[in-house]
């Protein structure tokens, strides 16, 4: 599937901001077996006094930027054309058992970004909790194939948790969302990660976009899409990381566009930084994920 994706992130400030310094994690990159970035543009208004592009530890596209002129509004706009072509899921029952995965992750001799070890431990936004692990454990018998176990956990979150925008915020801890059995995609992802890690299974956080399909007969509403989050579970050397979306109880497929990968939200938050200001800030985010008709020549053979 070919997408044109626009994201606008706008801050307006009650009192003009004298200066700001930020790290932006809004630039999608190629992901083997999932997506290819054909074009990407990042626009910041007002013009930054310094801006530099690079990659973080996990390979995400990031930009460091500073603005030292006073401004009362900051607009960060990205446009990306991305080709998503998903490799088929491995046979869930053919993946290694939970116990084997636990052992393989601990024995890993890889400290690189793709290593399962980064998904093993408590992280800033995902402290480990006994009760979440216990809740997940009923799906994860030691000899059960890990992907089958993880998909059951995903489905249970989808069934047992209420999707409730506004009930939680970016700093809500998994324990809080778990206790309330409600939240948004970020909370579901964090709960699922906390549970799997609690059992010694590697899990990590993916931020990205989800294509939404308007109800039949209705037009797509511009800007109505949102950023999304899901989970990747490590299913052994062979299968690697497999994306699972507990909000929708589906594996990450052609509707999922990956923006950034990390241990949790704190690793991939789109903006981290400080503004020199004493006033309040208002944030507005708009996302459009528009499927593009593939030019005839590129169309896959049917």
């Amino acid at each position: 599937m070919l997408y044109d994706i626009r994201q606008t992130t706008s801050y307006s400030y009650a009192v003009p901001v004298r200066a700001t310094k930020q790290v932006l994690r809004m630039s999608p990159v190629d992901r083997k077996g999932h997506q290819h970035v054909i074009a990407h543009v990042l626009d910041v208004t007002p013009r930054p006094s310094e801006i530099e592009r690079g990659r973080d530890f996990f390979g995400n596209g990031i930009a460091w930027m500073a603005i030292d002129a006073a401004h009362d509004r900051l607009d960060i706009a990205t446009r990306s054309r991305i080709d998503v072509t998903v490799t088929p899921l491995p046979e869930a029952l053919g993946t290694p058992g939970v116990e084997a995965i636990r052992a393989a992750a601990l024995a890993s001799q890889d400290l690189g970004p793709a290593s399962p070890v980064h998904g093993l431990f408590a992280s800033r936004s995902v402290p480990l909790e006994v009760d979440i692990a216990d809740w997940v454990a009923t799906s994860c018998a030691d000899d059960r194939p890990v992907l089958a176990a993880a998909m059951e956990v995903m489905t249970r979150i989808h069934e047992d948790f209420a999707y409730q925008p506004g009930a939680t915020c970016v700093t809500t801890l998994p324990a809080e969302a778990f206790a309330a059995r409600s939240g948004v995609c970020q909370d579901f992802a964090h709960v699922m990660i906390a549970g799997l890690r609690g059992l010694g299974l590697p899990a990590r956080y993916v931020s990205g976009y989800l294509r939404t399909v308007p109800p039949a007969g209705e037009e797509r509403l511009a800007g109505a899409d949102a950023t999304h989050a899901w989970v990747e579970v490590w299913c052994g050397e062979e299968a690697g990381w497999i994306g699972l979306d507990p909000t929708n109880a589906i594996p990450a497929g052609e509707d999922h566009v990956i923006l950034a990968i990390g241990r949790d939200y704190a690793d991939v938050s789109p903006v981290d930084g400080v503004v020199v200001s004493s006033g309040s800030q208002i944030l507005a985010v708009g996302v459009d994920v528009v499927p593009v008709e593939r030019p005839q020549a590129d169309a896959p053979a049917s």
Partner: protein, 834 residues
């Protein structure tokens, strides 16, 4: 052996017996002073003999003098969990640990070997990664550490070293060998306390410390400073000590080290990154800081790439490090090798990298992320300490969990077993290390207490140097198992007894090593701000005490009832917020006592001196110990509760004592503070506050309608009575009084004098462009000055006083806006994903 020698040894032995009476070592535990046969070890004999010679009374006196020294020099350890969140004095055990040179050299050599290995490990883990790739170290044993800072992977620290300052906690086992208990590589603390302990003990026992010839500490610091200066690439010689701030438990030490090493004490908000460079905000604009001695935990170092919620860090610091714009000691991420999990692999890594095992053993450690080790730990659970592999919280167990298997409750045992099955990687098992005991003076005799020793090492140009001394932490309990001594109740100095010539470097920097610094521009804006307010609070305190003295002194003779003069004095207190509303129609003395002692009045003295101390405490590196002591004295003098029956005489006495301490502080400031920008801001603050007070006094007591005796009160408040008497034989008259109080340029209490000093200071403040037109501050001062010059004493009217006061308040704001104001930095909101 001659007869005389025999006699003297016999005498010495008898004397030693007298202090050793009843000293009983703990069974199965080695004692530093006594050997297994109950005889004092040879290197303790001379010391014990000196103690015996002094006798218990003299010792008590000397030891309490040492305590007083520590208290007065403000050696504090901030205690977070204290109910008051306050500071408590560091408590010193006065008997030092004595170590023989040969014993020490072996320990020192072992630690040098160890820290060199740790450096290699860090360089590999943040660089080539061969230790993990080769299987010498499981990737999970690295990734599990919160101090494995992923943004720093692939970043080579400037100067090539991750570690520049290292500390190890060691203990001596029953076999007489030193064992490493833990490594400190993040931002080791304690070295400043070690310095203070040394000063305190050598003060208490000057004769003893001279005869015993212990190794001095100063050259260690000199080498360390020199090596950091060599790292400095800009040639500006500016090195910062980055502190989390005055709320940190070891802030005292940060201030002490900054002073001692001649580094700028900076907090995150003092620094800003521009391009690749880290700059400090000073009263003269941004100045580059090229090297930072880091006492802030790395994770808090940069809200952009590390902990986004940190308000203590420097936005963009990681990027500056990455681009080589700043050198940090220790590097960000150096805390990684503190993890107990890593200790489990060090023996193998040593063999692989050095070709032989480490000379100095460490406490046996098994990481439970491996099958075989986990099984062994479970098998021997009762005899091992179970603790966090990476120092973090373990779900289902209390914070900072560390316990011997045998002591686990059934619930904890079940939890540990469950964790082992699913998350063994979070745990290590460690041998129970038993440490030795050392003598502690319990008031009249010596008793043995278990201790651990922290040893400090600094990277210098000639390799690692070990500080010949250290910091003992002594436990009050008799449990000599190292794991149970995390906190330590008392500390002790460590004397390495020299067998040769003692390096005679003093604790003061030697002349050839003192860096020539004339730059008055490196005054942090934050420090200037605090100095300015310190000046204002002190002056306000002084003025209030003069008013109090007037109320309970002369005034009560002149006007015994609550007459119009008293009413005017009270109106002053009221306008300063020093008047209680709940004390209607009381005797003037009650008001005076209230202004002196009421904790709840914002303008009363307890609050004023607290504010002064608060301003001073965040810039503690700027004061000499004497000046700091004066501030502490002032606070304790004016915040001690008074009995309800306090009399006028008590109030007068207290105000008098307070004024004397302020005078002492002013003397110390004017005699001991360099005429640099910092002193000028303190001065400007005081002069502005004093000017405002003079104007208020004049407005209240020199208006034409003022009652009889008012001019006398004015002279008294302006501390100008004596001058007046020597100049005029007549009673107070308005013209001459106002001339003396307002216009006389030679009266250090006159308004003219204050304004002239302010003008002088403003003129030479750093950052002032000599070619630029005068600043708003300078113009405000010029306006007051020209008004004073043009005016005669008789022509002053109410509105003149008011206009000048208005200008002074504007001046204060303007100085703040120009030199101090730093708008707060807010964290950017995070977009929520849905």
């Amino acid at each position: 052996m001659s007869g005389a020698e025999t006699r003297s040894i016999a005498f010495e032995q008898a004397a030693v017996e007298s202090v050793l009476g009843g000293y009983e070592t703990l069974p199965g535990v080695r004692d530093e002073m006594m050997d297994a046969d109950g005889q004092p070890r040879a290197h303790w004999v001379a010391f014990l003999a000196s103690l015996a010679e002094l006798g218990p009374d003299d010792l008590r006196r000397r030891f309490s003098a040492a305590d007083r020294y520590l208290r007065e020099s403000g050696v504090f350890y901030r205690v977070y969990d204290d109910a008051g969140g306050g500071e408590r004095p560091w408590s010193l055990s006065h008997i030092p640990l004595l170590l023989e040179k040969s014993d020490w050299s072996e320990l020192a050599a072992g630690l040098v070997e160890r820290v060199e290995l740790l450096e290699t490990v860090l360089a590999d883990l943040y660089g080539a990664g061969s230790l993990v790739a080769s299987g010498a170290l499981p990737a999970a044993a690295v990734a599990g550490s919160p101090e494995f800072l992923r943004p720093l992977v692939g970043v080579k620290p400037r100067g090539g070293r991750f570690l520049r300052f290292y500390a190890a906690d060691v203990g001596r086992g029953p076999d007489g060998r030193w064992w490493v208990l833990s490594d400190r590589t993040q931002a080791p603390s304690g070295v400043g306390y070690a310095l203070e302990n040394r000063l305190a003990v050598t003060r208490a026992l000057p004769d003893v410390s001279r005869t015993l010839r212990m190794e001095r500490l100063a050259s260690f610091f000199q080498s360390f400073r020199t090596s950091l200066l060599k790292l400095e690439a800009t040639g500006e010689g500016r090195i910062g000590l980055l502190t989390p701030g005055s709320l940190n438990e070891t802030y005292f030490e940060h201030a002490l080290l900054a002073r001692y090493l001649g580094f700028l004490l900076v907090e995150g908000e003092d620094l800003t990154v521009r391009g690749d460079a880290v700059n400090v905000r000073t009263v003269a604009g941004l100045k580059r800081v090229d090297v930072l001695l880091r006492r802030l935990d790395a994770d808090f170092g940069d809200p952009l790439e590390l902990n986004a919620h940190s308000r203590l860090g420097v936005p963009g610091l990681v990027q500056a490090v990455r681009q080589g714009g700043v050198a940090l000691a220790n590097a960000l991420g150096a805390g990684l090798v503190e993890a107990p999990a890593l200790m489990a692999f060090l023996p193998r890594i040593a063999t692989e990298m050095l070709g032989h095992p480490l000379a100095l053993p460490h406490v046996g450690t098994w990481w439970c992320g491996q099958d075989v080790e986990r099984a062994q730990v479970m098998e021997h659970l009762d005899d091992l300490v179970i603790t966090s592999a990476f120092g973090g919280r373990i779900p289902g167990l209390p914070r900072r969990f560390s316990a011997v298997g045998a002591d686990l409750s059934p619930a904890e045992r079940r939890r540990v077993a469950a964790l082992m099955a699913q998350r063994g990687a979070d745990l290590v098992g460690q041998d129970i290390a038993r440490v030795s005991t050392m003598p502690v003076w319990n008031g009249d005799r010596l008793v043995p207490r278990p201790f651990t020793l922290r040893v400090f090492l600094a990277a210098t140009e000639d390799g690692w140097e070990v500080m010949p001394g250290g910091f003992c932490r002594i436990s009050e309990s008799l449990d000599a198992r190292a794991f149970s001594m995390q906190r330590g109740d008392r500390s002790a100095d460590v004397w390495v007894l020299s067998d040769g010539v003692v390096n005679s470097a003093t604790l003061m920097p030697s002349p050839e090593n003192v860096r020539i610094r004339r730059s008055s521009g490196t005054l942090q804006s934050r420090s200037a701000d605090n100095l300015f307010w310190l000046g204002r609070y002190l002056e306000r305190a002084e003025a209030t005490m003069r008013v109090v003295r007037a109320l309970v002194g002369r005034l009560s003779e002149v006007e015994p009832s609550a007459g119009p003069l008293v009413a005017r004095v009270l109106s002053l207190l009221s306008s300063w917020g020093a008047m209680p509303r709940d004390l209607a129609r009381a005797n003037p003395a009650r008001y005076a006592i209230a202004a002196l002692t009421r904790m709840d009045l914002p303008g009363a003295l307890p609050q004023l001196v607290r504010n002064a101390r608060a301003s001073a405490s965040v810039i503690r590196d700027r004061f000499s110990p004497d000046a700091w002591r004066a501030l502490l004295d002032l606070e304790s003098c004016l915040t001690t509760p008074v009995p309800n029956a306090a009399s006028e005489a008590d109030a007068y006495e207290r105000a008098d004592a307070g004024l004397r301490i302020i005078a002492a502080f002013s003397g110390l400031a004017s005699e001991n503070m360099n005429r640099l920008a910092g002193w000028r801001f303190l001065e400007i603050g005081r002069r502005i506050e004093r000017s405002i007070a003079i104007l208020r006094f004049a407005r209240t007591f020199a208006e034409p309608a003022a009652p009889r005796g008012a001019l006398n009160v004015l002279l008294q408040l302006a501390d100008s009575q004596i001058t007046y008497r020597t100049r005029y034989v007549m009673l107070e008259a308005r013209g001459p009084v106002l001339d003396l109080v307002m216009l006389d340029p030679d009266n250090p209490r006159s308004l003219m004098f204050q304004i002239q000093r302010i003008a002088d200071h403003l003129h030479v403040l750093p950052g002032r462009d000599p070619d630029a037109p005068p600043s708003l501050s300078e113009r405000l001062v010029a306006r007051i000055l020209s008004d004073l010059i043009a005016r005669t004493a008789e022509s002053f009217e109410l509105q003149h006083f008011e206009a000048m006061e208005g200008d002074l308040l504007k001046l204060s704001d303007e100085i703040g806006a120009h030199y101090f104001i730093q708008e707060p930095e807010e964290t950017v909101y995070w977009p929520v994903a849905t």
